[in-house]
Amino acid sequence: MINAWITASIVGLVSAVVGFFIAVRGQAFLAHALPNGAFAGAAMANLISINPLLGLGIFSVFGAGTIGFLEKKLKKDTATALGFVLMLAIGALLLSLTAEYSQQIFALLFGEILGVSTTELLPTAILAAVILGLIFLCYRPLLYSSVLEEVAFAKKISPGQYNMAFLLIVALVTTMAIPVVGTLLIFTLLVAPAATARLVAATPKTALLVSVVLSLTTVYLSIALAYESNWPIGFFIGILGFVSYSLGKIYQKLAK
């Protein structure tokens, strides 16, 4: 159980920070597409018997690269959709070629945080450190290129370059999170807490802080509820995210 709490803290923290940029850039679709598309990587790893983490890593970076390439030609959401379905189609093919899939794939889709082993903890922690380090290094340019395109231009920040960097960051989050919490959990955690935080906080720094607090509260509460009820954690995270966002909306309306 202690492993579950540590994993939840790491994933909650990282997704709250990365989610802040997801919310600012309006890229919830990307947060959905990369984790859901990348499960094909695990299927591929299964097929040629390599480490699932490696398969996931290769596939998420491939997906991020494809979406990044398409974004130069198309609107962001269209590019995400096309890159996403390509990943899914390859996944469908790989799954049909392997015989024993359903149990493992179910675990990847919905996660099994309560069964995280100590050996899985180390790669999760290392990837989390790398992601937070990258965000720390690119914090200002990422923020400028997300919200203030003119400032970014004046400061000679190339939006395209940071767009690609951000895609890679989301690919890393995917690789980190899928083996331990599954695609559903990471998507909801990337979107809801940070989106709620943006509704109630006035400055980027407080929004980040609120996002982290909300995200950790959501994860801890969901684990406890799932443990008590034996229902899937993904259900509680999804509903709590929806409730907190709705409350945030009401607060925003009242504050006006």
Partner: protein, 293 residues
């Protein structure tokens, strides 16, 4: 004749399963492509994809209740589409985030339903069918339902065609004409809900986005005006379904033998190749200097 035999395995055109699949597939492709053109124009790809995932919840419920899954998809998608439209969000980034939050909650519910399903029955194989589609297992009695759904969604788009174009390309002009864009965008979301339901059955919930976005994205690169965009998108969508079925039929003789590769894989792969081919064409310029779409 031998070349033809190598390309098309014997029996492709004489199989009634393939006949049903071709009819349903082509109907779905045409409706998806027409709806998809507006989806791309309005930057609502995420809405289209979210509806397919949300609809899967209805599909699973219908399956449990023993009715054809298409009805579950249609009901849940119409409700979800109306809900998303009722929120009335115009800002693109905010719409993306709200769609994400709603989708997260819906997926959470799906996880709960699946948990109940698997504790009562062991239905994970059927779940995979639901997610990845099963065009070759559709009963021919559903052809009528598919024709009905196609007619309704195309009619919705046709009635609101001008308003939809205006509100997609130039919302201010529509406002100036004293017309509310709400009716048109509701009509669009309902058409989208029906199109997504159809393609969720045909090529699977999670790949239906391919049929919606792919042909439309490719068509916008080739066509010079709106009408030809629709025509190209519909033709490319139908071609990808036809070729996908053909290749999947042929693939029974490919390794691993007597297994067959999934139809949806071929459909998406063909759509993607078509899109990549359209990239070879230099950027289209209109009379106004920039591409309209």
């Amino acid at each position: 004749m031998t070349i033809l035999h190598d390309l098309i395995e014997p029996g492709f055109f004489s199989s009634s399963v393939i006949d049903t699949a071709l009819i349903i597939g082509c109907l779905t492709a045409v409706v998806s492509a027409a709806t998809g053109t507006f989806t791309v124009l309005r930057s609502q790809s995420f809405t289209g994809h979210a509806l397919s995932d949300i609809g899967a919840t209805g599909g699973a419920a219908a399956y449990l209740a023993g009715v054809p899954t298409i009805y579950g998809f249609v009901v849940v998608n119409l409700v979800a589409g109306t809900f998303l439209e009722a929120l009335g969000i115009k800002n693109r980034k905010e719409r993306d985030i709200v769609t994400g939050v709603v989708l997260g909650a819906a997926l959470g519910l799906t996880a709960l339903f699946l948990y109940f399903d698997t504790t009562t029955t062991s239905a994970s194989g059927d779940t995979m069918n639901l997610l990845f589609g099963s065009i070759l297992t559709i009963q021919s009695s559903l052809v009528g339902v598919f024709i009905g759904l196609s007619v309704i969604s195309v009619a919705l788009l046709a009635v609101y065609y001008r308003q939809l174009l205006l509100s997609s390309l130039d919302p201010d002009l529509l406002q100036a004409k004293n017309r509310s864009p709400r009716a048109a965008s509701l009509a669009f979301l309902l058409a989208l809900a029906l199109a997504v339901s159809m393609s969720a059955i045909a090529i699977g919930a999670i790949l239906s986005t391919a049929l919606l976005i792919g042909p439309a994205a490719a068509a916008t690169r080739l066509a010079k005006d709106m009408k030809s965009t629709f025509v190209y998108a519909c033709l490319m969508g139908a071609a990808s379904i036809f070729l996908g079925l053909l290749l999947s039929y042929d693939s029974y003789t490919w390794p691993p033998f007597h297994h067959g590769w999934p139809v949806s894989f071929f459909v998406v792969a063909i759509i993607f190749v078509i899109y990549l081919l359209t990239l070879l064409k230099p950027e289209a310029k209109t009379r106004h200097g920039n591409a309209v779409i």
